[in-house]
Amino acid sequence: MNTKNKIVLLLSILLLVAGLYMYYGIYNRSYKNIETISAEVKISSTELVSSFMMNEKFANSIYRGKIIEVDGVLKEVTFLNNRNTVLLYSDNKYSSVLCDMQANQIEEVKKLKKGQKVKIKGVCKGFLKDAILLHCMLTNTQIDE
């Protein structure tokens, strides 16, 4: 084996190792942390719900899978099934924006009061009876007006 072949062999092994390493990195990756990503859309909770109720398909094409920031009035906080969930009012009595909060938000979530104005950033997943946002975090708790 001459030197040239050795170098080629060594390089291809290196490439393979690097490839495997990257593959495992991607494979084991957990969900994106939305903290560092800014919202693509900013909207009020009433507008978000009414846009889904008016035309779900169209609303999905705008909001589904996107990181959005919703501002609204707090309707309810629940801790069902060990999740921290925040619901925001809409114009419709039976619908709301349902935000599944990240685990690190629990201390802030506990302090929230019904009727309070909040801003929440999360990934919009779609609409059932409520607009559903996952991986949510509060974005305005410090700036109380």
Binding site: R29, S30, N81, R83, K125, G126, D130, I132, L134
Partner: protein, 182 residues
């Protein structure tokens, strides 16, 4: 004439008191599924499942967003939504059924069968699910588990990944209802 007005007044005002709500709702039902193989175990959970039961007709309806299932790894989430379930085309899974022989007067827990139609990936199958119904002070908790075959729902898994994904997926659910105010 006056009597009719009085009667109407009574009817419209007191009708609400007579009719006890028979509908119960959960917006945060929990559905999990598991795939066990010798290669790897895959587990996902959806905590935002919508369900309404109507106990005057013993009917149950369930709807969930497929992209709201959370996996341990985001790549599993991607594969599930983009390749297997195709959640852009079929964003929801639904179930509509009937609770057989539900006894509204029974206190505590009762185990009943639910018969109905399960729709996943645009394909509808008739299934039977055993559920435990617990009366909790005028509200209800439904729990249970069942199994579905991947091939029944026309879900295509590439041969290279076939060993990683079970042929039969087990599903568990937990729905904590509350009265649905009209």
């Amino acid at each position: 004439m006056n009597k009719i007005i009085v009667l109407l007044f009574l009817l419209t005002n007191f009708a609400d008191f007579d009719v006890k709500s028979d509908q119960f709702i959960t917006r945060q039902g929990q559905v999990s599924f598991f795939s066990y193989t010798s290669v790897e175990n895959i587990e996902a959970k959806n905590n935002q499942v919508l369900s309404i039961i109507d106990l005057s007709k013993n009917e149950i309806a369930v709807s969930m967003l497929m992209n709201a299932f959370i996996f341990k790894k985001s790549l599993m989430h991607e594969h599930f939504n983009e390749s297997y379930i195709e959640s852009d085309l079929y964003p929801k899974a639904t179930f509509e059924g009937r609770i057989v022989d539900f006894d509204p007067l029974a206190t505590g827990a009762q185990t009943k069968m639910i018969q109905g139609a399960l729709t996943i990936h645009g394909i509808t199958k008739e299934i039977e699910i055993k559920t435990t119904i617990q009366d909790m002070n005028g509200s209800y908790l439904l729990t249970g588990d069942f199994e579905v075959a991947v091939k029944d729902f026309d879900i295509k898994i590439p041969p290279i990944l076939a060993p990683n994904i079970a042929k039969i997926i087990s599903i568990t659910f937990r729905f904590e209802y509350r009265p649905y105010e009209k």
